[in-house]
């Protein structure tokens, strides 16, 4: 899911980086003092999740957890994922420094989308199964959107779109399932031990 240095064409790189900078700026403005521990924990979670590899045919794909990050953090996912991706590129060689912006955009934008799509539905009092299904959709949707953005990035850098997109999405189907289940479990757990995470924030995060 991480794009490596030198794959993306310059215009795409510039556009992606600009959008990522804007996203990070919005995220930084929205972070509340009391939200810092949350941001830190989810950044660490995203940082480590990428090390969990699932073998899919010849390729290896890894977990993203950007859905969960997005539901909980909203726009703060941008700075959180920027930090995690920066450390991943430094320590593990995933991605690269020049493509940091576009990678951040590809993973944090779906996170923010997940926030707007699934946060409000999750806030209500549902039965456990409904909560799990909504969270599952968020986890799987985060991966799917990231995969689509990745394919789009490669397309705008002069590569075939349909073939690449299909290959990427197919390779990430198992990841979507695993992430959906993990996100569902995590949200059920969070709703039990700290229901206020899902209740009070929307007012503060949405201007």
């Amino acid at each position: 899911m991480h794009i490596a240095d030198g794959v993306v064409s310059l215009p795409v790189l510039a556009a992606g980086s600009t959008l990522a900078v804007a996203g990070v700026a919005v995220g930084l403005r929205k972070i509340d003092y009391r939200q810092i521990p949350q941001v830190g924990v989810l950044t660490a979670g995203f940082f480590v999740a990428s090390l969990i590899h699932l073998p899919v045919g010849p390729a290896q794909v890894h977990l993203l957890m950007n859905g969960l990050t997005g539901i909980v953090l909203g726009w703060a996912a941008f700075p959180a994922l920027l930090v995690a991706l920066f450390l991943q590129s430094l320590l593990f060689g995933y991605g690269g420094i020049t493509v940091l912006g576009i990678n951040t955009l590809n993973m944090a934008l779906p996170a923010v989308c997940c926030h707007y799509l699934f946060r409000r539905p999750l806030a209500g009092n549902h039965r456990r199964r409904a909560t799990f299904l909504i969270a599952f959709a968020a986890g799987a949707g985060g991966v799917a959107m990231s995969g689509t953005l990745l394919a789009a990035t490669l397309y705008f850098s002069n590569r075939e779109f349909l073939g690449v997109a299909a290959a990427i999405l197919a390779a990430h189907l198992p990841v979507m399932v695993v992430e959906g289940i993990l996100t569902g479990g995590a949200v059920l757990f969070l709703k039990r031990v700290q229901p206020e995470i899902f209740e009070k924030n929307p007012r503060r995060l949405d201007p």
Partner: protein
């Protein structure tokens, strides 16, 4: 409120636990063993991190299933030699008796094939007979390494060269190349495995380091935001 004061009471215990963990892991790694196959014998040395050699220590050799095969002793320089009787996994263990333990395993594949299963191919060289400070390569190996005589033509060798025409006649260039290849791969394989282990360990440290960075950044952000809220 007991809930408020509990973290404060816990802190010294946590610090103590952390100290204990650090202390035990530090002392558990204080001595080390290294061994390598040279000819028909295994030579090695015992040392402490920092390069200090450990002289006059008894090293016990274990075979598969923890079967005790024998002992050897480190000399004044901390070196030891052991001549295995059979080709099997050998575990060298140094227990100094004061809580320090080091072990090093030589895989069966590293030992020369001439030692095939239980044959006493090394009966000619009794254990510990070879001095540990002996030249690192046995004569036959040195001959192969330093005298690339063309096969079968003894006249090409200088008169004082340590090569015998009989050997040269039987070892062709290709044969020599495969022998060298085999020997090199036999010695390099364990290194590669060690490198893999090391890489795993570095990876773990990277993960822990990254999490540490994130916690530090979160702390800094909290500090800045708290300052801004106050000001």
């Amino acid at each position: 409120m007991p809930l408020v004061s509990r973290p404060r009471r816990l802190a010294p215990w946590l610090a103590l636990a952390l100290l204990l963990v650090v202390a035990t892991t530090a002392s558990a790694h204080k001595i080390m063993l290294f061994a390598v196959v040279e000819g028909n014998a295994v030579t090695g040395y015992a040392y402490a991190p920092g390069g200090v050699r450990l002289p006059n220590n008894v090293i016990t050799v274990f075979g598969p299933n923890d079967q005790r095969l024998g002992t050897t002793k480190t000399d004044a320089q901390g070196n030891f030699t052991y001549a295995p009787k059979s080709r099997c996994d050998l575990r060298f263990e140094l227990n100094t008796g004061d809580g320090h333990l080091a072990s090093y395993t030589i895989q069966a594949g590293e030992l020369p094939p001439t030692l095939a299963g239980g044959q006493t191919a090394t009966s000619a060289t009794p254990p510990a007979a070879a001095p540990a400070a002996a030249p690192p390569t046995p004569p036959t190996q040195r001959h192969q390494a330093t005298a690339p005589c063309p096969g079968g033509v003894g006249a090409h060798c200088p008169p004082n060269a340590p090569c015998r025409a009989g050997v040269n006649a039987t070892v062709g260039d290709e044969q020599l190349a495969t022998m060298v290849d085999r020997a090199v791969s036999r010695h390099v394989t364990p290194l590669r495995e060690q490198l893999d282990d090391y890489e795993q360990k570095v990876r773990l440290h990277d993960v822990l380091g990254g999490i540490g960075y994130i916690i530090g950044l979160a702390g800094m952000a909290a500090y800045w935001l708290a300052k801004r809220e106050k000001g």
